[in-house]
Amino acid sequence: MIGPQARAVDIAAAVRARRVSARDVAAAALARIAGRNAALNCFTHVRPDEALEEAARIDARVEAGEDVGPLAGVPFAVKNLLDVRGVTTLAGSKIFAERPPAARDATAVAALRRAGAVLVGTLSMDEFAFGFTTENPHYGPTRNPHDLARVPGGSSGGAAAAVAAGLVPLALGSDTNGSIRVPAAFCGVFGLKPTYGRVSRAGAALFAASLDHVGPFARSVADLAAAFDAIQGPDTRDPVASDAPVVPCAPHVGRDVEGLRLAVAGGHFARNAEPEALDAVRKVAKALRIRREVELPESHRARAAAMVITAVEGANLHFPDLKARAKDFDPLTRDRFLAGALLPASVYVQAQRFRAWYRARVAEIFREIDVLLTPTAPWPAPLIGAPRTRRVDDAEVIVRAHSGVFTQPLSFVGLPAMSVPLAAPGVLPLGIQLVAAPFGEPMLFRVAAHLERDGLVSAPLAGG
């Protein structure tokens, strides 16, 4: 009854009602990982003994009549950039392999475990989260479960692949410029990049601190809400964590979109993409009867400023290793980190000042609308080893960087954004990005759940 397709919320209900044991659920997830990971290469570490022990403890607590939490016995895995006590946080690098195992769990990992979820392992990523493909040369490429010849997206590629393939119903990743949303789109799952500061980054290996976010992946809207509700909230361990009151999103999953002011993004978000990605937005907009189009001004410049901030902050963080052992970096990140170390300070400050300007313009627009739709990515998952550049919309673009063309301007100003999957038999999935004003996550869940109920978005199991 609890197969790879089972929703996290249904697993938890079954465990709490003792219709199934958490131990059996964990054992089944571990068996799926053992069966599929060689092909997908999405796990960096699997913890079978600990997971089975922890699941058995959940069962004992259920037996004793304790409340074991809303995610009782739900298997989950986390991008190996979030600390897991006893596991070395590699962040996709060779350099961090020399570091000792983490002494404690990242705040978000601990929160899911407190909610009763059972951690089965850690997941692959681009080195130091600087990429959109998870073609990691140190540990091998992770493969998209919809087509093993294609990338899963990145940098949280392992998380998206593991959820899409049904190895786990929930995973955690991080998103600096699109690293949750792009892989969610390429792998056909739901992924949420929360409002900046809404989910603690404590215990996460930073990349570009002023842009880093932590968030969940799932195959259903209810599961995504349950995971987000477990991890959202203030945290004194994270200097940018918000003290804003927590608004649980699970209750919003059952609500309709009636009364919400919806719009489609024009301009930058209606260009720069393959026709199929733009058609997907039109299809969803038509179903939602959206007639309004709005333009976020200077979004191409917002993306450029995000690139500057990312490169400079990333280079600053890794400067000692760039100086002492540049050869130990992934060649794909090394060149960009080195370049980031050479940018003048005035450009960085200007990018941060432009960020304040763009935030103000975007805030004005979100006074008039509640949820904005854009494509998540400009195309479906590219092939592993795809050529460096390709033509799109009459321009030559860098394939890896351009995958974030629609996600970067929005994370740049910390807006909550969710990628919801459009699936159809025989074609690669595409993602629609739903965007709201800061702390507008409940509205994203309302729209996503409406689309899921109408059958427009879904995350069927991939491969296997």
């Binding site: 410049r301 400023a305 100086k323 060149d335 370049a339 450009v347 960020r355 300007w357």
Partner: protein, 56 residues
């Protein structure tokens, strides 16, 4: 910006770049400088402050 310029710039900030990596760093820096131009050419009023929040 060519290879010699990148090499000099790297020396200024205390980095030494392997000659084999130089061509790719030049390409990466050109991409970033293109982004930097987009940021720099946009005029901002003097009272627009940097976005990150410092909480004493």
């Amino acid at each position: 910006m060519g290879e010699s310029g990148v090499k000099q710039l790297a020396a200024l900030v205390g980095l030494s770049i392997d000659p084999l990596d130089l061509p790719n760093v030049v390409v990466a820096l050109r991409v970033l400088l293109g982004a930097a131009d987009l940021v720099r050419e946009f005029a901002l009023a003097d009272d627009v402050e940097a976005a990150p929040v410092f909480r004493p």
